[in-house]
Structures are given as structure tokens and as C-alpha cells.
Symmetry: C2
Amino acid sequence: MNDLKSKATIYDVAKLAGFSAATVSLALSGSPKIKESTKEKIRNAAGKLKYQPNFLARGLVKQETKTICLIIPDNLNPVFAEITQGVEHFAYGRGYSIILCITNEDAQREKFYLEIMRNNRADGLLVFPTFFPVVQEEALRLRASNVPFVIVGRRIEGMDSDYVAINLESGGYKAADFLIKLGHKKIGIIYGVANPDLGKSRLEGFKRAFLENGLHFRTDFVKGCGYRIHDGYKVAKELLSNKDRPTALFAINDLLAIGALKAVKELGLKVPDDISIVGFDDIEFASYSDPPLTTVSLKEKEMGKTAVEMLIDRIENTSADSKRGAILIEPELIVRDSCAEII
Amino acid sequence: MNDLKSKATIYDVAKLAGFSAATVSLALSGSPKIKESTKEKIRNAAGKLKYQPNFLARGLVKQETKTICLIIPDNLNPVFAEITQGVEHFAYGRGYSIILCITNEDAQREKFYLEIMRNNRADGLLVFPTFFPVVQEEALRLRASNVPFVIVGRRIEGMDSDYVAINLESGGYKAADFLIKLGHKKIGIIYGVANPDLGKSRLEGFKRAFLENGLHFRTDFVKGCGYRIHDGYKVAKELLSNKDRPTALFAINDLLAIGALKAVKELGLKVPDDISIVGFDDIEFASYSDPPLTTVSLKEKEMGKTAVEMLIDRIENTSADSKRGAILIEPELIVRDSCAEII
DNA sequence: TATTATAATTAAACCGATTAAATGAATGAT
DNA sequence: ATCATTCATTTAATCGGTTTAATTATAATA
């Protein structure tokens, strides 16, 4: 290749340095077999040509890409944005790149990505699942193809796989218990999820708190909707315009809670004096809303880190079928100023 | 390969279907040379084996990866999170995947990613630059290696390349002009940037508005800091505890403005009655803050889409050195409730 | 039936690296 | 001087696809 407008290959380096391609490969990977003086010459030549080893060629023979595929539902949601950031960060620290797939809460796309990723493009997958049956089905193929993967963020009931998840049931319980202890009995639930599987655990925990406190759980206070700020705003208005109005709102994520906050204000009510609000996720904005939001922390950073570590260990440990890693992180209630006692 | 725990190759498909690898390749790519009946048989065999063509092998011969590398500073900032989302979305629409690199506002990492990406891992790059000299230097190598790239978000003065940017100077001007027309003369500037290059244009536009309105621009009201919510909070407090206190604040991004909002409240002042605030970026939260924030829209979605289109056109049009694409998007002032007239 | 044209398939080269095995040169022992 | 070692480098196979050119099978024509 004497074409200046092109990438230098290992053969170009070999020719310039006066050695064979094999020697160049060995030298650049620091093999002790190669004399220091020739290593030096080869490094010079490589530097002169701005040589970068072809990723595809190397990957093909080494059967590895040093790449992790991360599948998330939606990067506009700060929860996933944070996970993405964390995953990229820790992966980088261990020499891995990440290829980002955003499903947009669409089952087709989730399936597509899970399918295509059996093509040796990545050494392993990190999946934040949205449609549980889709993931369960594709997981079988991934395993048959020997592609390591770790489920992140949510536990899929009855599925045997590595996972790093949050105990959402417990999170729901903590939120409800907190409100109940403050004297609330009528709590509206803003149930904004892409599919019913997703909110289930939180809701179950919520119910459990009612039962354990000897209260009746009112299902007519549970209102389903989308998962964006705007949806929380709309549903909060509905719930609060009820004649038998709740005294508190629990939003299944912080985005919804922030929308609800705005709705409450527009109705001329005050948070927390008239209405208490609890969110879920503890996104950065939750502490900058007015008032700062009481919420349940998801510990995304810890989750991202743990998941990356687990996946890379799985990738690098040839011990194929060692027992599954299963980590269930305990969420934490973050008390700020959006809740008050009922008097 | 009769190892069940492994990926099927084209040879496995060939054997099962009773044809050669070449025929399989041709058949699966829909070549008209292959009889329909054998195509059918081959598709069946491929389906039975859950065959996925090896990405690396294919990439190596076709000299393409259908992958775009996106380099951004920080996925926690909603501006970049939105760009990432948009880029992924439109890239997917054209059959490309994205590999995400987050520099964390670190020059070393920005350089590292720009360097490594000359290794045939991606067909082109989308770069949201942070350290202009780094990018300029690496850009030369990218061009020498014939790797297409598009600069996104910011225009680098004096650099000849494809770009899709926002006219930040004009954005700064619009923000200032708006405040000045409301009667403000003392405006504090929260200048939270990772490096001085970044805020320059916005500041220049801001100054220009002062000059054109016959006002004196006070540099002692410009306070540098980091670029996160917390920094805006801190600096706003400083600016407002001055005896000669500004009547308005301009934050160089919305995150800082949201921090400032909190600071103003804590000081017992009211927005907009006592202090007007203008942000920059128009992130989703800007319309849900209290009060909703007047800000300058960056049009990330448009930017992401345009940049992807431009890059893919560059990648796919063999016409190597056609003239550069240069798009400067005009930002828009979004007026909400965080500013009031001076009386 | 022989010949030619055309359709369908395959052999073989290639992409650019890595690596096991082979070769060659230098050193040391006898 | 001869042979065994050790050290340094190279040859050649390989990874799993795609694609061009060659080959074989089939159909059309004389």
C-alpha cells in the first residue's frame, strides 16, 4: 500500500522495518522472543505509519472483540443514561468498548438486537430487559451459542441466568410503608410502564406494606400510563380531580413524580402540605425539584459496575458453566421534602 | 462443528444444505444467480442452525462494519443523552449500529478514542468535541487514513471538516438581548465549562448584545465553574451574595440554571420577581422546573439526525472528496416563566 | 447428435491479523 | 571441527466470510 489515503497494515510496517509480519505482530505485543533492538525498529516503523492493528482481522483470529453490547430501553430516562455512563466507564477500565443498543421499549427491536448479537460482534451482552418473554426466549439461543450475558436491573422470575438487579419489591414496600407511617391511607399510584411486567414487583411490595399494616389496598387508585414526565402530569391531575382524592401519590419512577409535582401546583395545591409525593429511581434531578423529592434509590452506579464486572469475569473465565452470579441490590429510601405527616 | 455449545458457521450451513459455502453466501444475500429452490433449502438450513454470519469475517472482506462510533463528553448531561438517543435511532434506521465512547471531559480519553477508531472498527465517526486542539490533530490522521467523520454540536474555528453545529454565538446573543430588552443591565454569567474553548462563542454573542444595545459588559459578573447542577448552585450563591447584586443570571447550560434556581430560593429570593434566569440547551426538565425555565433550544434531535445522515452519505458515497457538508443550526429562544421585566 | 449458449454451482484467492511449527544463525561444549 | 543448544526470525496455516473466475449441468439450436 503506497496509497497515502489509506490505512497502514502490518505488512506495511513489516516492509518498512525490514522484518516479517509475524515478527511485527510478536514485537508489538511485547513478546520476549523478539530482540529489544528489533522491537525498537518495529515500534519506530509502526509509529511512522501511524499503524493501528485491524480490529476485524485481530478479532477473527483471537475470537474476541473486547466489546460489550449494552441493551437498554431508553437513553432519555436518566436511570438508563446513568447506567450507560457507568457501564461505559467500568468497561473502559477493563479494556472493553461498548456498543449501545436502544430498544425504545419496542419488542421487535429488543428481539432484533438480542438475535443479531450472536454474530461475534461483542464478547458478551448486558441486557436491561423490557419484554420478559422475548428476553427469555433469546436467552436460550445466546446460551446455545455460548454468548455470555448478564441481565441488569430487573429480575426475571423463573429465569436461570446471571443477573444484577434491584429488589424492586422491597423498594415498593419501603415507599408505601413510609407513607403509611406518616398516616396516609389513600395513596394514588402512577403506574407508568411500557408493559405490565415491569411495575409488578414495585406494586406487589406496595400492597404488602398495606397488608402488613392492616390496611385495605384500593386498586381503583392505581392508574396506568406511559413512562414519561408528561404522563405523570396527566395522571396526577386525573387522580387528584377525584372527589375522593388521595392524600399522597406514589410514582413508579421519578420522571412521573416530577410531572405530578407540576400537576399538583397547577391545581393550586401544595407539596407536601396538601399532597405527599414519593418517586422511584433517585435520578439527579430528584434533589433539585421543588420541593426535593423523596424517592427510592436504584443505585445505578453500583448496578452498572457490578454487572460489568460479572460479565467480564464470565467472558474471561474459561470455566464455562460455573454457577450463576446472582446479585440483588437492596434499594434505599431517600427522604427529602415531598412528604408530610397527615394530621 | 458438532459442538452444540457453539456458533454455526457458513460451512455448517453448507454441509447441512448440501451446497458449497460460496453458494450459501450468495443465496443468503439474495443473489439472482442461485436457483429459488436451492435458496429455499439454504434458508431452511440456516434457520435450523440459527446461523448468524460472523460479523468480523464479513467486515474483513467487505471492508465495512455498518457501525458508527459516537464520541460524546458525558451521557449524564441530558443534551448528550438526547443526541445519543437520536443518533442511535437514525443510525438504526439506516442499518448501522453505534459504538458509544464517553470521554468524561478528559482530553486523554478523547484522544485515545479518536486514535483507536482508525482500526477499522467503525465505518465513520461522529464527534462531539471537547478539546479542540486534540480533535484538530487527530482529525488530520483520520483524514489521512480515509476515515469519514463529522463534527457535531460545536464548530471548531479554522478547522476544515464536515460539521453539524449550533450557532452558539447567536444563541448567546438571543439570551442577552432578551434580558436587556426586559431592562436588565447587571447580568451574572454562570460560566460552567470543561475548558474555556467551549463557552467562548456563547459569551461572545452575549457581549455583542451588550455592545449593540449600547451597554457596558462587566467581566466581573462572569464566574467560571464546573458544568454540573451543583456548580450552578454554588456559583449562583456567590454571584448573588455580592453587594452589587445582578438582577438576572445567564447560565451557560440548563443544568447550571437548575442549580441556580435552587440557590435563589434558598436565599429567600423569588424567580422571576427578584431574579431572572435564562438557561441554555432546553433539556426536557427545563419545562418542568419551578418556574419553567426560559432557555435556548439546541435542537438536539435535528442535530443528531442531520449528523447521522451526513456521515452515512459520506461513508456510502464513494466520491471521496466531494465538498464538505457544513450545517449551522439556528438556536431558538424558548420563553417560559423564569424572566421578568425590571421596573 | 453435436454444438453452443446459458444457467447454476464451486474452487480458490483474498481481507489482515495471530500463532504453532519450522528454519537459520549464533553460542557453547566436547 | 562437530554437534547440541539456545535465540531470533520466518513460513504457513488459520479465523469465517465474500467474490471473481472457472467449471459443470442444463437447455436451446442447428
